[in-house]
């Protein structure tokens, strides 16, 4: 029956093209939505993962990395005293006001980390420098900006050496990164922790977070207990903070639900299109199928005709869908939208194809299983 099914699909090209387009678009939509979702999640947690550390000390009640407050002085002392701790590093993540050269006032996200100690044990933040080096930020009032934020910051090339007013202070751009964005698309500005403390109005030994590196991961809970004796403090592992941040972004923005809804909608529309096409193809062949039945084809052989039609449409449409999704991804390269296709995205897309073609084939299957041979042959 597979030969008859394949020939039938090839013969009814125009009709089948509609079904293939339905499967391909629904699959691509599914993969792209998951890619968007994954892209959003990884963007939400990229700062946490880049800053590193095994444990993060933060203000009690912190629900995401972008939203915290300055810690009281000495918050890190219990950690420093713990024998299992190898290093404790400050990080500043704060919303601060800035003024563009044209005079407009907005808010930016300031990220400060200890660039002096970065290097062998943990990575530099920021990463992906297009111009300048991390060391260029080591003096007061020097910052790095991202080349995606130029218009929002009111800057134009040449960038290195240009100045910006942040928190009423004049700072100098000494580094330019590329492709670093937060989920809210508010400009991100990076500095050494000394500069960041000044701009964020923190004490000379202040921080929004203290990042704790452990000699042995298993002593994490004991370190956390020591710190959390102070009720104003919370401790999370880096993974926990990354994950609650992702969850927060996904649920608060409603992005997760919206993306899932669009994907589901695509699935439903795709299923309907494929279902209609298959059903009309099968109906068109009721007489021929009835003839096969009359000369000894079993019901299950007729069912195979439908199964093969569905399988071919699924295979071809699914492949087209994956290709389409990859094309969209490469077409979006470097834009503000990010698509992350893990194996999960592709597998879910292919599972969607399977569901679509199975559900779509059901009506056709029922129509051949119920085929009244005597009636169709009259």
């Amino acid at each position: 029956m597979h030969r008859i099914a394949l020939q039938t699909l090839l013969f009814h090209r125009a009709k089948v093209a509609a079904a293939l387009a339905g499967v391909a678009f629904a699959t691509a939509l599914m993969i792209i939505q998951i890619g968007l979702y994954e892209g959003l999640r990884s963007r939400a947690s990229v700062l946490v993962n880049r800053l590193g550390g095994d444990l993060w000390i933060m203000a009690a009640g912190t629900s995401m990395v972008d939203d915290s407050e300055l810690l009281a002085t000495g918050a890190e002392l219990p950690a420093r005293a713990h024998p299992c701790v190898t290093s404790v590093r400050p990080a500043i993540v704060a919303w601060v006001p800035y003024r563009t050269p044209a005079g407009a006032r907005h808010t930016l996200q300031l990220v400060g980390s200890d660039l002096r100690t970065a290097g062998p044990t943990h990575a530099y933040v920021p990463w992906s420098f297009a111009e300048g080096l991390p060391q260029d930020l080591l003096a007061q009032d020097r910052v790095a900006i991202d080349d995606g934020d130029l218009s929002r910051l009111g800057l134009a090339p040449p960038l290195v050496g240009s100045t910006l007013e942040i928190a009423e202070r004049r700072v100098e751009v000494r580094g330019v990164t590329t492709g670093i964005r937060n989920v809210s698309l508010i400009p991100m500005v990076f500095a050494d922790v000394e500069t960041a403390r000044t701009l964020a109005g923190a004490a000379p030994d202040g921080a929004t977070y203290w990042l704790v590196d452990l000699a042995d991961g298993s002593c994490g809970p004991s370190v956390a207990r020591a710190i959390e004796r102070d009720p104003r403090l919370d401790v999370m592992t880096r993974e926990e903070l990354a994950s609650v941040t992702e969850e927060h972004v996904v649920t608060e923005s409603g992005a997760g639900a919206a993306l899932a809804f669009v994907a589901l909608l695509g699935l439903v529309v795709g299923t309907v299109i494929v279902g209609q096409t298959l059903l009309s193809l099968v109906r068109e062949h009721h007489k021929e199928l009835g003839m096969l039945r009359a000369v000894g084809a079993s019901r299950s052989e007729l069912a195979q005709f439908v199964a093969w039609l569905s399988a071919f449409v699924a295979a071809m449409g699914g492949a087209l869908g994956v290709i389409l999704a990859l094309l969209v991804q490469s077409g979006l390269g470097g834009r503000s939208v990010e698509l992350h296709y893990g194996p999960g995205a592709i597998l879910t897309g292919l599972a969607a194809v399977l569901v679509m073609c199975t559900v779509a084939g059901a009506a056709s299957l029922a129509s051949v299983l119920r085929l009244d041979v005597v009636k169709v042959l009259q």
Partner: protein, 265 residues
Amino acid sequence: MTDERGASANVLEARGVVFTHGTPPLETRVLHGVDLDIAPGELTVLMGPSGSGKTTLISILAGLLRPTRGRVVLGGSEISAMDDAEVTAVRRRTLGFVFQAFHLFPALTATDNVAEVLALSGTPIRVAREKARALLTRFGLEARLDHRPGELSAGQRQRVAIARAIVTSPRLVIADEPTVALDGPTAASVMELLREYVSAGTSVVLVTHDVRLVRASDRVVALEDGRVAYDGRGLAANPHGAPSGHDIHPPTPRSSEPVAGPEGA
């Protein structure tokens, strides 16, 4: 029901076949106890007015419908007492079908329309195609082997359909109005093809309104209101002209072999 060859030699035996549509009190009785034996190598024309039950009868003989009452034995198997899967298996090894509207797959070539039916019963497709080509070539379609039904004339399509019906070497071919869509000469050539297979031992039951086909038949059965009203020899049984033995209902035993062979090849 005497038959000197013994009942088992018949390709088909129907006894007291009753068929009723619907359920009481809204039932319509279509067949009122039909008896019919089909001997090997016999071309039987089944005639009768519209609505007399011809299509219903052949559907029952082919196991596509279950009789309300009565027995049908096809190729030695009592299909009226079998389940669907068993009847399907009997049909597969015993039956060929030709329909008025051909029912060819529009997407398949002439060769594949024939070959795929053979492939259904497990013949490898290459062997099936080989056999299909040979058969179609004998039917004068050697230039049309790779054409699709849409590129064939009605007569050519019906020849493909007949090739499809006989490619599995069935013991019985049932044809429901196979010549209605064809003009006179084309219909005659289609009949010739069928006759040729009858002479090779296949039985044919041919439903028609066309009295001209009686000329090529060994036997004529007429249905009227769901009863066999006439069962007698066809004109091919007597090459010298007029029908010689009109066996008026109820049918009486007939000679064992058809007298005439096919008219040419």
